[in-house]
Amino acid sequence: MSRTPEIDVGDYVREIPGQQFLVRTEAYTDEDVFELEMKRIFERTWIYVGHESEFASAGSFKTAYAGRQPIVVIRDKEGKIGAFFNRCMHRGATLLREPQGVVQEMRCPYHGWIFDLAGRTRLVSERGDPGGYGANFLEPQGLLRVPRMESYRGLLFVSLDAGIEPLASYLGELKAVIDAKLDLSPVGRIAIASKPYVCRYKGNWKLQTENIVDAYHFMHTHGAFVKLQAKYGDSTGDFGVHKGRSSREMREQRFRGETWSCRQGHGFARVPAADPGYLLDGEFGRMYRELLDRHGEAAFAGITAKATSTVFPSMGMIHQQIRVWRPISVDETEVLIYPYEIEGAPDAFNAGMLRSQERFYGPSGFGMADDTEIFARVTQGLRASSVEWLVFDRGMDSDERTESGDYRGLPSSEAPQRALWRAWENMMRQASKHA
């Protein structure tokens, strides 16, 4: 990975403000572009690695990736959560392999070196054996810590860039989306109890980044689901995730609200609740009335809105799930979907939300397999490299620049997709320390 590709990324994104927005085909298909993305994007953004609720006790760990660099996140005996490169300081084996678990210490499977939960070297095995380490051996002090780790309301992110702006300011306008999602909880917290759905698709990682906030595709890619919803939505466990009893109602529902293109690359689409009164009088009315009392009408509208969002480059929060994706190669991507629970909400509420997500997501759900199938179709189509550009103009003429430097668009604008590409271009143009 030390190869520094000689490519000029200066002309991959063409924007004529208010008019035209084009992205070059090779941005999805070129291996050199991919190599450069790993360095210039994944090594200097904030990368989501887990939620605090997944680290219940000392030794609780999760493995993750920043781009392609393996990382382990682990709680130590003092209760602190630390992030290290998941690589033995001797000759490089990963220390922990499982996606998550609990250990007493990190013991390397190759020659048996041991590191404690805070990453310090605890044992160099058979140190004094004949031909072992001499008196002058410069023992590595411990694992290499990932330069930055911060939490926003329990969501844990790391960055390989020591100089990156604080997480809270990086999240920018997207904080409002996260806050609203977490404030649905009477105690302001979510928790992850379920193992994730894991899928892979044949396609570039940016297809997922674009798609998770793509209001435009829904009525088409998921057109059959819309019909299914009209027939069965009320009887089989819809829980407001994809509300709407007829195609018309679902269409109308989708074309309310707003889209955002955040300057850091995040994007989101937010649709106000169709009928908040219905929530207040419904099965979980008590919970909603308490939320209304506590937060006031304006914040309550945000809490009950439906928002789909991406945190640039590889994490999203939609409905009641956290999604994280990892580039494997220029045309293969792994996606993890973690349904989460609203702490303090009635069990029936969380179970209903889970049921409704089971219905749409997962390998046998009514939605997700359609998206991954389409990604494969896009990957196939992009091999027509004779066509130079992809078109991202939709809604440009009606997007408005906000004071914060973001753009606010109408509901089916491609503003969230443009967010990705603006940040992408900006970061790809800047040489990083390593490349």
């Binding site: 193992k195 466990g237 629970e341 969380n350 049921r355 359609d370 991954t372 199938e373 389409i374 196939q380």
Partner: protein, 160 residues
């Protein structure tokens, strides 16, 4: 009895392979379940499942497959089930049956289709709870333990 049970399971598999999905629906008890868990010890209501279908949800799934065009099943999957190692025990009027199943799946289109899992071998321990009534057996529960449930999955947007 074991022969009756085995025949029943072979027929169930054949209905799926022949895409006679409405007939497949009628094999189930009204309160029957079709479940594909993601983990071995699932906390109901807390742990997501790959499939978690009661009667209405099964009907919906079949309706979707039979009546709708959607990308994940365009072309639709073809399957062929190989069923073996059937073991059956009776408990409280329910037959608890376990089987090994090798399910070959391929999208039934032509050679130009794209996507992962173009030729899939699904390997699973399939456990049934069968109820014996006047008209023969009914499925009270069908539980598919995918051998690779802890790994990543491709497109499983069909009934298996």
């Amino acid at each position: 009895m074991l022969q009756d049970i085995t025949q029943f399971i072979y027929r169930e598999a054949r209905l799926l392979d022949d895409r006679r999905l409405d007939d497949w629906l009628s094999l189930f008890d009204d309160d029957g379940l079709y479940i594909v868990p993601l983990v071995d010890e699932a906390l109901p209501g807390r742990q997501a499942a790959i499939v978690n279908d009661d009667r209405m949800a099964r009907e919906e799934r079949v309706y979707h497959l039979v009546n709708h065009w959607f990308p994940a099943q365009q072309p639709p999957s073809r399957t062929l089930h190989f069923v073996s190692n059937v073991v059956a025990d009776e408990r409280d009027g329910l037959w608890s049956v376990s089987s090994s199943q090798l399910i070959h799946e391929t999208r039934g289109g032509d050679w130009t289709q794209v996507g992962l899992g173009e030729k899939n071998a699904i390997v699973a321990r399939v456990d049934y709870l069968l109820r014996r009534g006047d008209k023969g057996f009914r499925i009270h529960e069908k539980r598919v333990h995918l051998l690779d449930r802890a790994g990543w999955q491709g497109n499983l947007a069909f009934i298996y």
